[in-house]
């Protein structure tokens, strides 16, 4: 099983002919992901190491049956690319591009949500189901297959935690980066819900950070709806108040959204929280080993 990406993923890469798009698209392909098409307007008919390129997503879908897209176009073209993919029938959108204008993403989100589209990002590392498929920029070599679902707002922090888990001999069902832009396509709850339903996933590690109240909402959801154990890590205890930390999502306004506040909210629902990636991995190991 696993979630979001697996053996049934047929990936189209929007922006495959760009340098980043081809580097990561081909890396995903080498990992074993079924990368069936690329889309670059005006380059239809070409190919990138055997992957056919189309002018439009609808052509790619009709010719190759693509069902998932990885959006690797510059931020100012990303909203258009997402609309194009969704209107062409793509059900899973993984947007690596970062820094989309927030109002554009607001409209995209509102548009795709009732259509049942699964979206990760913008500004996300993608999703990796070890042994099945890797869509995005997650360095797959540091992860192994297993039963821990990992969900995170941050890319590199995801790798850090995943790496620590691997060091402890723990594998993952799917590693999901939901993205760091102010508005992203999926919340923690969206992903937790899918991990709860996924037979392969037995435990979940949730990696949060300062800003917003997604972790607090997730805490309530975990208590009410999840049977599988969840441990958490929160980054940003030392983050300076009122400063943007890079993720626009990580702005502390007043006292709400602090790492301490999130930790307490999680612990109040019985969810253990590590204070360093290493500690979080240790907690996960404890849970996994009973």
């Amino acid at each position: 099983m696993a979630i979001i990406v697996d053996q049934d993923t047929k990936l189209v890469v929007q922006g495959l002919t760009g340098s980043e798009g081809s580097f990561h698209g081909l890396r995903n392909k080498r990992y074993g992901t079924r990368v069936v098409a690329g889309v670059t307007p005006g380059k239809g008919g070409q190919d990138v190491e055997g992957v056919p390129v189309f002018d439009t997503v609808v052509d790619a879908v009709e010719e190759t049956g693509a069902n998932t897209t990885m959006v690797f176009v510059p931020a100012r073209f990303a909203a258009d690319a997402i609309y194009e993919a969704v209107d062409a029938g793509i059900a899973t959108v993984i947007c690596i591009a970062e820094g989309l204008p927030a109002h554009e993403m607001l409209r995209v989100y509102t548009y795709i949500r009732p259509r049942g589209v699964t979206m990760l990002g913008p500004n996300c590392p993608g999703a990796l189901s070890p042994g099945k498929a890797n869509v995005g920029i997650i360095p797959a070599e540091i992860f192994t297959e297993g039963s821990i679902g990992l969900v995170s707002r941050s890319g590199t922090l995801t790798y850090q935690i995943g790496h620590e888990l691997t060091q402890m001999g723990l594998g993952n069902s799917t590693i999901v980066g939901i993205g760091g832009d102010p508005v992203v396509g999926s919340s923690f709850i969206d992903i937790l819900e899918r991990f709860e339903a996924d037979p392969q996933t037995e435990y979940v590690v949730m990696v949060g950070e300062i800003g917003g109240d997604e972790e607090e909402k997730a805490a309530a959801f975990i208590e009410a709806k999840m049977s599988k154990p969840v441990v958490a890590y929160i980054a940003g205890f030392e983050a300076p108040p009122g400063k943007t930390m890079g993720h626009a999502g990580a702005i502390i306004s007043g006292s709400s959204g602090t790492a301490q506040g999130k930790k307490e909210a999680l612990e109040a629902k019985g969810i253990r929280v590590g204070t360093s990636p290493t500690e979080a991995a240790q907690l996960a190991a404890e849970v996994a080993r009973g």
């Binding site: 509102t110 990696v207 290493t278």
Partner: protein, 381 residues
Amino acid sequence: MDLYEYQGKQLFSRYGIPVSDGRYVTTPEEARTAAEEIGGAVVVKAQVLTGGRGKAGGIKLADDPADAEEKARAILGLEIRGHVVTKLWIESASEIAKEYYLSITFDRGTKQPLLMFTTQGGVDIEEVAETNPDALVRLHVDPLEGFQPYHARRLIYGAGVEDRSEQGQIAAILAKLYEAFVGTDAMLCEINPLIVTPEGEVKALDSKFTVDDNALYKHPEIAEMRDVEAADPLESLAREKDVTYVKLDGEVGILGNGAGLVMSTLDVIALAGGRAANFCDLGGGGDAEGVVDALEVITRDPQVKSIFFNIFGGITRCDEVAKGILAALERMPIELPIVVRLDGTNAEEGRRILADAAIANVHPEATMLDGARRAVEAATK
């Protein structure tokens, strides 16, 4: 990007939201001229990107041009919450019968614009939200439905505005404010206070306006409003080089990739007993040249005693980072200890590049925790 009051009011005017006649000035002499042009009593207002101007003496009434010059002289140079006043807004003084509050916020939680209105304006709105929550009417707008006239009615009747003329004026202002909010890709448009004059005219007496940095390319006229002088010189340098840089107060300079990992690094530095002097986030790409730029920014901060590179490659490639470190060391003399931890994409290669170069003050470490400890140790030694 936060705008000054006068810039926000310029945008208000562009969208047809009534504001008082005013002038932007930077000297007492200009303040006098402005007051002459405007005529009558004026208000001299410090332009700073922080609150609490009034209490700090940054807003003063002037009866005539000479008085305006005098008041301007008093306000220019004031320091308000760390901001030195160099800019003023001189505007026609308004008589105030009532003070309301109106704002539109980009609500990331619900992913919708949030309208807020109360007749209890002119004060700190968080206070109203706490002490009298029913007086603060909140309403979300579906971004695809967009603003509809009924939204205004919900706010106006919800807050208990009964005067017909006021209702009409507020509804019109709200429609225009929404247009401004969407039209400028704003994250916040706030009018506090929205006043009613004794004659019944409704207008914006202040403005708080924040525009999405990621959308500034669509609004060159707003992008130009950025006050480059007011920024910290190192932050300006960082911006120029397209590096995310934040100044902190400790002794370890931090260079990481990705906001989450950087934040985690700050925490782990603290766990190791140290404190970060600043940090640079290489962000997504991070090629060798970006590393050189970031190192340049970081090392200009005299508080830095050691540098900690904490890189987990994804889209960032560790070999590029290693190359960047070597390139930077070739171009500028850095004698500070540099602790380097590389993992992820092309980490092997990156580590080999550094090992091959074998530079005395570059110390590879295998884990984040070990790297943090070594950097703290090196800084405090």
